[in-house]
Symmetry: none
DNA sequence: GATGAATGAGGATTCATTCAT
DNA sequence: CATGAATGAATCCTCATTCAT
């Protein structure tokens, strides 16, 4: 499942270091000009090395984009894993997850935007790889939801709520023009929370269960 | 606010006809290869005329993209106006609007995808124009919501619910890989409805109002 | 067997004209710098058009080389066909053929040299095509020899004599440094003739045939 | 006339050893890809050392080619000197020389091919050096011919027969596609012998000399 | 109005060579 | 002596755009 980018450099540590520099420069550059308008020379410059050196660490321009996308998911995963307890049975776990996720999307706004706008520029197999990563994220949220509110939602509903949450986080980045002038991140998080709670609480009510977490929590 | 694409052709009818052909060919082509990978020659061919003729109806390649985007919004607007009654005070009006909108997003999946992936390739002023169109859409939904459920939600909440609905329609297209294998459009619409209703009903309940539409409707 | 080079130009006549210009410029250039050292821009310039125009008539740099090689064989074939009578049963026919061939090799010295030095730069399939052309040439000589001196030589001997003649013509070009300071073309032709005659005459003698053309002719 | 390739290494033995490795790897590589398509990195790898080390033993890529060409002539010379007696006055000496030479060309097919296809890639002065080597070879053959058959042929005829023999040996390599499917090396040698003898015998006959070696030998 | 040949700026990629370790 | 990371000039090719017919 892991996709490796070939490099003619032998020193593994060096590859890692250089690619981190590359990632940083490229994100900045892609944010400004987009992937297509950025030339390989500009990418090299932004990363702080020569065009020749750039090509010691990648094979094609598309590799740079993939490197960026891959690194984004690595960081998202790393940060979410620190925060999420997929076995916790409390509603708190869900809220905690959502809050952390929204915070993460706020921290990585530029990266998320790039992800949204440039994936289709990736070669087909890399696109597939990215989708797989998204599916992992989705699975994580589904788990948190179903653990937090067992027996409350149908699998289909869980799936949909997870999808909704996922893109609500991402839209904070790609619809910033619509949201960030009316909401602070805290407000955004709170209101989306409130609406989510309403959904769950009402569902719980419908089920009639009085000992139900969602119902109580409202 | 309306942006006009210059053309050296005088006959208005002809321009319209040609641009319709252009739109159709271009959408198909952009769906397959994306805007950047499509060459002007391919665009001309897909539209059924020569490269020389293409440039009689547009000035730059970006114009083609803008033409496509513009036409999308024109159609969205036309179809939504037929269906939406922004003055209706019934919850039904909202549900009606959402259902129509989701149906529209299903009909225009390819176009929506292009919109999502290629706007950043537009020149800045055209991007601004597209954002304005999105704002109009947003305003429309806000109106339907606030008319359907007066006094139920705060302006901020209305804004957020409208944004959520808008992208829920669009994600049916751009997350089709995650949604369309688990949902038919009808199912998708129904479940999202249900969740929306839950939100509104629960909000109504909180407000304690017994004469409230949302509360009754559940 | 015919290999076509793709072109985006529709006018067949134009293609032919332009490619003739291309051939002429390229031969001159390749003679001076060799194929590898010649840049595509230089090729375009030598042919009298822009780099963009060059690529309207070929797809890759290698195509230029193939075009040149192909044109060489076309001309060789055209000129030899005018001169050779493969059905003639006279020794004169052979001598006539050889003389014309040597003259041709003299006229096309630069082209022959290019052929010798650059074929291996062609893509595999084009190399195969060139070999096929050489085989045709070989067959032509074999026919002239066996018609000119029926029953004198074994097929193997015919094959070898044909090969010898073929490269004796070509070496006039590629070993010019060794030959052209000691021989005029006429001398070279005469001496090689004389040696060839000796071979045939002696073979005839060996066979004891007194009515044999080769024996008498000496 | 000897061209020295500069090296920064002091140890003469080491230089010689390294260059032998280099020669071996390079011939193999050039045979497969040709000189131009082979990169210096590939050359280094084929020789079994690093790119840095390669450049300790040569100064430019062309040096590698020259090294190869030079080594070829060294071996040709060494092997021919063992075999040829340029003072012998017997026809046998010539036949002996030719047979050995053809055998040598068979043994060094790949090298000969490289020589034919890549000399023009050498710098001008190196090309001159190679020509000089060829002239030496030519002189050797001329001597063997004129010693073997004194007074039989004019200097011009000797020159031409020598040239013919030389390239008949080489064409066994560069026209292998035409020859090696119809002839074994032995057959090729025998038939070319026979034809050569015919020439000489007939010449002798013409001269009327009855005590002549060539005439008797047939 | 329509056509398509011509243009050349621009961009991705390669690779011979160097030099610090 | 050996290594291999770094360099950037050089090169092939593409493609948006123009304009004469």
């Amino acid at each position: 499942m892991v996709k490796r980018i070939a490099s003619s450099i032998k020193d593994k540590k060096l590859i890692e270091r250089r690619r981190a520099e590359l990632h940083k420069g490229a994100v900045q550059l892609f944010k400004e000009k987009g992937f297509h308008r950025a030339t390989t020379r500009e990418i090299a410059k932004a990363a702080g090395f020569s065009i020749g050196t750039l090509y010691e660490y990648i094979r094609t321009k598309e590799d740079v984009l993939f490197l960026v996308c891959d690194a984004i998911y690595d960081e998202v995963k790393a940060r979410m894993e620190n925060v999420i307890d997929t076995t916790a049975t409390s509603e708190e776990a869900l809220y905690q997850a959502v809050e952390s996720y929204f915070q993460l999307m706020d921290d990585m706004q530029d990266e998320v935007l790039i992800l949204y706008q440039e994936v289709k520029a990736l070669p087909k197999d890399a696109q597939e790889y990215v989708l797989e990563k998204e599916r992992e994220m989705l699975g994580m949220f589904e788990e948190v939801i179903s653990n937090g509110f067992p027996n409350l939602l149908s699998p289909q509903e869980i799936n949909l709520v997870a999808n909704n949450l996922l893109i609500q986080g991402q839209m904070w980045s790609f619809r910033r023009w619509a949201l960030q002038k009316d909401f602070s991140l805290e407000e955004y998080t709170n209101v989306q929370f409130q609406l989510l709670k309403s959904q769950l609480a009402h569902q719980a009510q419908q089920k009639g269960g009085t000992n139900d977490a969602a119902a109580r929590s409202v």
